[in-house]
């Protein structure tokens, strides 16, 4: 459950961007399908980690980024569910991962009280 540690990082990153007394209403995240992180586990841990902070009760909006890759042989791009998935067109592997590894806090919405 390293999602607890990640949820704590999310809380710290968001708090560093607001004045004390502000209330953070929403947090937008990008979680890639190949990041090794379960978005639902982040949601579960976030609620607990946000307690007693400017993020208490904030809504978490998770943008799940699909894993995409490019084949080094036939140059086609396609979706992958795992880093070791072969090219669906010519069965080559490894393939070049283009997206899906990210874990980012992209945006927050704040109520300045």
């Amino acid at each position: 459950m390293h999602e607890v540690a990640l949820a704590q990082e999310i809380v710290e990153i968001c708090q560093a961007h607001v004045e004390s007394g502000s209330k953070i209403e929403t947090v937008k995240l990008e979680i890639g399908a190949l990041s090794g992180v379960v978005a639902e586990a982040i949601e579960f841990c976030f609620e607990a980690c946000a307690k007693g902070t400017a993020l208490e009760g904030a809504t978490l909006l998770i943008d799940k980024i699909k894993g995409t890759a490019k084949c080094p042989i036939c140059a086609q791009t396609f979706e992958v569910a795992a880093v070791f998935d072969p090219c669906p067109h010519c069965q080559t592997y490894p393939v070049e991962i283009l997206s899906g590894r990210q874990m980012r806090v992209s945006e927050i919405e704040v109520n300045d009280v």
Binding site: H2, A5, E9, G36, R104, V105, I108, N111
Partner: protein, 239 residues
Amino acid sequence: MCNTCGCNPNHSHAHAHDHPAPRKKITIEQDILSKNNSLAKTNRALFKKHQIFALNLVSSPGSGKTALLEKTLRELSAKTRFAVIEGDQQTDNDAQRIAKTGVPVHQINTGAGCHLDAHGIAHALDHFDLKNLDVLFIENVGNLVCPATFDLGEHHKVAVLSVTEGEDKPLKYPTMFENSDVMLLNKIDLLPYLDFDVKKCKEFAKRVNPKIKIFEISVKTGAGMSTWYEWLAQEAREI
């Protein structure tokens, strides 16, 4: 202006709806692991400054990481100055085992935590004389999932996989094997008693990470240990 009634929210009058407080959007675009990665960078700079070769040993519990370290330290510490950071949720059992080899050791207990992070390593480094150190082993918490995500500043992750675990572990836990530069296939003395398919296991590891180096070893009998020692000596020289 209020979207519901068109009034100015700064004046006061009695009506039946609340004015929502104005919301401000703030763009952040920050990696969730940015703090850990920045501390890992600091650790890496410290290793470079003192010419320390740092390895992060990762595996499931019971693969033989501590036994591997005990044997490696006993056989090589006459010529190389080692130190060990031990990571476990509880107990200092492993640190006690390492201490018996005479090598400096520091135990980190993560409590409920399932992995070591760069912050914990930075503090653990205070316990060693870095000027008189050649190789640092970090024995991570036994777990094939979480330690894969956290850079500690090490030169390489070394995954230890024992043949009692099943040959498909690299496919089941791909992030760990993708992020490791070496896989030590341990306990090969037990192969005659198991259905473990070594060829398949290597193929699975290479599928996840084509560059991974694989050494077949038995810490118990000493088989293959020289290949691991040679890699260690060579890589430590090249930093």
